[in-house]
Symmetry: C2
């Protein structure tokens, strides 16, 4: 009886399983390897040996798919930029800087050469802007029924003392976010600038207790950070910095913001904000919530006031 | 007039362009980055600084697509193994060893959970067999019309003195190949063992002048090695070691052998073969041709005897 239940469960399709649950199911029990400091679960894997003084290696892969992450009639140079910039954003969110990228570009055979070249122009622009090399990869034709996609692998470096994880937030830490949120779909998702410079400044001057980039919206990503740290969190809805035309809910859930989500001891917030304003006068940094001790009940709950609570 | 010709050329589809030509068109002019010793064009990118004593980093990405590299009803654990083993083979062909891998798994929503888990079991087996960690990646559902694919990124290491490129063969070098060729499609393409141990032994004891793995058949891959070295080559057709049931042409062109193609000074061949037989008594190493100075005519020519000549 037990066996037949198990096989029924194994035969169900991926359609019926949520994304986070699927990844947890598939990656649990993977061997991390001798030089793995951080494996599955953070913005990047961190490779190195405990106590080493040389920079750690950051390792990330990220994939964009036509009609999911961009439309077929998008400017191909922007598509190429986006593919690279997403990975740069993940490297930055660990406190590091990018070194080299490989791109796997799978294109439908009817794609024009001009479109393919445009994608590589976008890669090149991102590499020059953020100082990494495009050192190889693969260009394949998709099967006739397939769609276009780009998978990027990126290597970065980070000094051991400046590497920031998402799993090391502390109870009572303040939560801050860079920039403004929401409405990325109107175009910014193809042209955004990863907060690499800002993240490097943060880890040097006000090292956060935890950090990640906001790719799926603060309402999904902050609870992930809190959960990775074994903690809960609250969001001050009224404090969320919004882009023009966005409701609070848009700003919380739209995704593809690629801003930095930062936690820091509450006593350091004033000083951080003062330093930030002097360094980045045109980019807001906003306190939007706090990390909290985990309540006995571990479900996500929504407050009826201006705060959302995620246990 | 010129302009309209250029745009006509840009608007042609990828269908009309050969694979090597397409890659050359798209990757020419890419910025390699400050720490890139070898970029586009070899089995792996090589990252490091000239003169460094610490191991170089090897960086590779490789992708397999359903109904191109495996059939939809294949054993998923073998599919996962193959995805990893192909990248291990490339790391080995540079003289290195694998450290860590990331896997991007894109699956059609109707794929069963059991199939997805099987793929990860194959990853895990490869990681344990060759001593690298599976440190993350991505699992996405393909759009309804898309097909399953797996992209693997792998990091390896190699001592600077043991790193072997494909572009450093010398005129008059002997060409050797490990194992037997052809017929991989009958099943071996899903279960092959990359020649990692053999490659490490070679770079330690009889460092080849150039090396690569045979993925598209010796008849395509040896001319690539020769071309990368600015040289030509000849293949002794009758010497080609064949798998059972394979003609010479099968062995030369079938592909997916994942054997090592090695060049070495002709004076060292006898000594190498003797050492090899003592070390790997069950795996043949066979002399199959030579590297030649480039003739004035630079086309590929076929001899009418037992030798194929590639200028």
């Amino acid at each position: 009886m037990k066996k037949s239940r198990a096989s029924a469960s194994e035969s169900r399709s991926l359609r019926s399983i949520g994304e986070d649950a699927l990844i947890a199911l598939l990656t649990s029990g993977l061997t991390a390897g001798a030089e793995t400091l951080v494996g599955v679960g953070d913005d990047c894997a961190v490779l190195g040996k405990p106590g080493q003084r040389a920079p750690y290696t950051l390792f990330k892969t990220d994939c964009i798919v036509e009609n999911v992450h961009y439309l077929a009639d998008a400017d191909p140079a922007k598509v190429g930029w986006k593919a690279m910039a997403r990975a740069v954003s993940d490297i930055g969110a660990m406190g590091g800087w990018p070194i080299a990228a490989l791109a796997t570009v799978i294109l439908h055979p009817d794609t024009s050469l001009a479109f393919a070249r445009g994608i590589y122009r976008g890669f090149q622009k991102a590499g020059r802007t953020y100082g990494f090399g495009i050192v190889g990869g693969e260009t394949s034709r998709a099967p006739q029924s397939g769609c276009n996609m780009i998978s990027v692998s990126m290597l970065g470096k980070v000094e051991p003392g400046r590497c920031v994880l998402r799993s090391t937030a502390q109870a009572d830490d303040a939560v801050l976010v860079t920039g403004r949120l929401g409405g990325s779909i109107c175009g910014r998702h193809l042209t955004f600038q990863p907060r690499l410079e800002q993240a490097r400044w943060l880890v040097e001057h006000f090292k956060p207790s935890a950090m990640m980039d906001v790719s799926d919206g603060v309402a999904r990503d902050l609870p992930r950070l809190a959960k990775a740290s074994g903690l809960a969190c609250s969001i001050d809805r009224d404090a969320i910095p919004r882009n023009r035309g966005c409701s609070i809910d848009d700003a919380l859930t739209d995704g593809e913001d690629y801003e930095l989500l930062v936690t820091i001891h509450p006593a350091r917030v004033e000083c951080l904000l003062e330093g930030w304003r002097a360094q980045f006068p045109r980019l807001p940094l906003t306190r939007i919530g706090e990390i909290r001790a985990k309540a006995a009940s571990s479900d996500i709950t929504f407050g009826d006031g201006g705060w959302d609570h995620f246990d």
